[in-house]
């Protein structure tokens, strides 16, 4: 009994964010999803260290190999791109030379002096955990590097969207009148514009490339945020604390940014998480059309596009399956986080 009252007193000092965090933690799926997201962020930050191979290295002998394919290879010395020589069968190894059968069933030899060695070993084993794609590139490494693109498209486009949405939404909801009418008109114009065509034409205007796609997606997805911020401002503007702030003689900027905006943020956070998920889907779709990320850079949408052409005839189904799963998992996770945030940030549900 006594302990309970103690915790009650301690809890009194905790902030609103702390309560939100507790509620969020109770939402198990959302909590697991956020751990997954953090893991993915870590993976994409340290892609260079984690990925087992160079994602762009093509070994044409290894086209569309299945999962856990492994093979013995040698590596030629030299600058520039790694030159890998796969060995189908080793014949013999002398002091200075290696005799082997290559993938075209021809007997060949390499001088050891021209090869890269590790601890006097000239022959290494290369394993491709998820197999390879059409160009013999390691799928796992490409997935890891692709996470970088997907996460950054989500973050960058939503940052743009939130910035534009907050600025336009708050101006419109706070000042009303003519400003509101003009901004609402603009919001409706962008809203009525078919967003896919808008994204595609903006990225055509900016040129093909990944940051262009990020910006294009950001420039189209602010509408919902602006509408929500506007709605919040219209209600909150009439509240007592804003009235008292005005009575104290505070300026518009201070009232907007210090008083109203912090209270309008929770639906913005929820909406932008959903927007993040949609941005990831959007980028994948753009890359699938050949806009967006350009080859050889790895992006999940691009990987699906590459693999799809060989899906029906190909041998490694994973070429399409893994990137598709990766997209679905992250969007799934982000949506669940959005659900969790909605429940935990909504003060109406607070006990």
């Amino acid at each position: 009994m006594k302990r309970e009252t103690n915790t009650a007193i301690v809890n009194k000092r905790k902030s609103l964010w702390h309560y939100s965090y507790i509620r969020f933690k109770r939402h198990k799926l959302a909590f697991i999803s956020s751990i997954y997201l953090l893991l993915l962020i870590a993976v994409s930050l340290f892609a260079e260290i984690i990925s087992p191979h160079n994602p762009d290295r093509q070994i044409l002998e290894f086209t569309s190999k299945p999962s856990f394919y492994s093979c013995e290879v040698m590596q030629k010395k030299g600058k520039g791109a790694e030159k890998i020589i796969p060995i189908k069968k080793l014949i013999k190894e002398t002091n200075s030379e290696i005799y082997y059968i290559d993938f075209l069933d021809k007997e060949k030899s390499e001088v050891k002096a021209s090869l890269v060695s590790k601890n006097n070993n000239y022959i290494f084993k290369e394993t491709f955990i998820l197999g390879t794609d059409k160009f013999g590139r390691d799928l796992l490494s490409r997935l890891i590097y692709g996470a970088r693109i997907s996460l950054s498209v989500g973050l960058i486009s939503q940052t743009i969207a939130v910035l534009i949405g907050i600025i336009l939404g708050s101006l419109s909801g706070y000042f009303r009148g003519g400003t509101d009418r003009i901004i609402m008109w603009f919001i409706n114009v962008v809203w009525a514009f078919p967003s896919i065509l808008l994204v595609i034409s903006i990225s055509v205007v900016l040129g093909k490339g990944y940051w262009q796609a990020f910006v294009a997606i950001g420039l189209t997805s602010w509408v919902e945020i602006a509408r929500i911020v506007r709605g919040q401002f219209i209600t909150l503007k009439e509240s007592e604390y804003v009235e008292s702030a005005r009575a104290l003689g505070f300026g518009h900027t201070r009232i907007i940014f210090r008083h109203i905006l912090p209270n309008a943020m929770s639906p913005v956070i929820v909406t932008s998480t959903v927007g993040l998920a949609n941005a990831i889907i959007f980028e994948a779709s753009l890359s699938f059309l050949g806009l967006g990320v350009q080859p050889p850079m790895a992006s999940w949408g691009q990987m699906i596009f590459d693999g799809y052409k060989y899906l029906i005839t190909g041998t490694n189904f994973g070429m399409v399956l893994y990137p598709a799963l990766a997209i679905m998992l992250i969007v799934f996770a982000v949506n669940l986080i959005g659900d969790g945030l909605r429940d935990s940030l909504d003060p109406k549900l607070k006990k």
């Binding site: 008109w185 603009f186 409706n188 114009v189 962008v190 809203w191 009525a192 514009f193 078919p194 896919i196 065509l197 808008l198 595609i200 034409s201 903006i202 055509v204 205007v205 040129g207 998920a277 889907i281 994948a284 779709s285 699938f288 059309l289 699906i304 799809y308 899906l311 029906i312 399409v320 598709a324 997209i327 679905m328 969007v331 799934f332 949506n335 669940l336």
Partner: protein
């Protein structure tokens, strides 16, 4: 009421005007010379210039813009740079295909979505409920094009029972895969919304009264709760319809469905500016018109909506 309609009408026209302006600015900014697009890259200077004069491309931005708005307002959308066909004529020809796909998928998603939502809400946190929640989360998470590819792979390539591309003039079953691919996402959203909205309604007093009266559970759900729960569902349905009727972009493109969506995608890839502007205009008009009627409908049904 008349004032409300008039105000909405003016707003709609202004929005269309805005969309036209944005689409003009965008196509103006797109790199690439339309005259060269028409004649081919190796055309000689003289004919390129004469085409430029003919299309009015030699004039400054402002003049071009005024000309564009003027002729669009008169209903002249120009001619395609690629096929030299009338843009409005081409778009009109493509409407039935898009409308068919759009209506069918909306019907599918409404029917199954509402059913799943009602079943879910009947016994919340039961096995069935979790199953539908999972399905609807999946529907929101899977990108449309991935679902389309999955369907093509399973039903087209592996089982070989359904065609993977083409239009219904070859047989009705050509619509099956595109319709499913298109319906899945709205279905998922409608399931979720129906579920939450039904749960809200089922906890209300009038439902308790109905139960106390001894009405059967199915009557309570269908005649009382569902009726009130449908409001947000209809909003979602109308916005889904507004979005797809204006062109179903990825699905049409992937399934080679000859609608507005694939026309738009094609013309954007080939920089056919008049066609791009035409399809954008069409989409926006559909969107604005549907929203216009939905707003009026709401005002008629719901006395709480302010007519002002």
């Amino acid at each position: 009421m008349l004032k409300f309609i008039l105000k909405n009408l003016v707003n709609s026209v202004l929005i269309i005007f805005g969309v036209l302006s944005v689409s003009f600015v965008l196509t103006f900014l797109i790199p690439g010379d339309p005259a060269k697009m028409i004649l081919g890259q190796r055309a000689d200077e003289e004919s390129v210039n004469s085409i430029r004069v003919e299309l009015g491309l030699d004039k400054p931005f402002a003049i071009q813009y005024i000309n564009f708005i003027g002729r669009t307002a008169r209903g002249n959308l120009g001619k395609s740079y690629l096929t030299d066909r009338d843009v409005s004529q081409t778009i009109l020809e493509k409407i039935p295909a898009t409308a068919l796909l759009s209506f069918l998928s909306i019907l599918l998603s409404a029917f199954f979505g509402i059913m799943a939502g009602v079943v879910s809400s009947k016994k919340p946190y039961s096995f069935k409920d979790y199953f539908f929640i999972l399905i609807s989360l999946l529907g929101i998470s899977i990108p449309q094009f991935v679902l389309a590819l999955l369907l093509i792979y399973i039903f087209g390539a592996k089982l070989n029972i359904l065609p993977i591309a083409g239009y219904v003039d070859n047989g009705w079953y050509y619509i099956v895969l595109p319709a499913i691919a298109l319906a899945f996402r709205p279905l998922a959203i409608i399931t979720r919304i129906t579920r939450t909205s039904m749960l809200d309604e089922l906890n209300k007093d009038y439902v308790r009264t109905a139960r106390a009266k001894g009405l059967s559970e199915s009557k309570i759900i269908i005649k009382h709760a569902l009726r009130n729960a449908l409001n947000p569902v209809i909003t979602t349905l109308s916005s889904s319809l507004a979005a797809t009727l204006g062109g179903v972009f990825f699905i049409e493109y992937i399934f080679n469905w000859p609608g507005i969506g694939s026309l738009a995608m094609d013309s954007i890839m080939k920089l056919d500016f008049p066609m791009i502007q035409g399809t954008i205009l069409f989409s926006a008009i559909v969107f604005v018109v549907i929203n216009f009627f939905v707003d009026i409908l709401y005002a008629l049904i719901n006395p709480k909506v302010k007519l002002g």
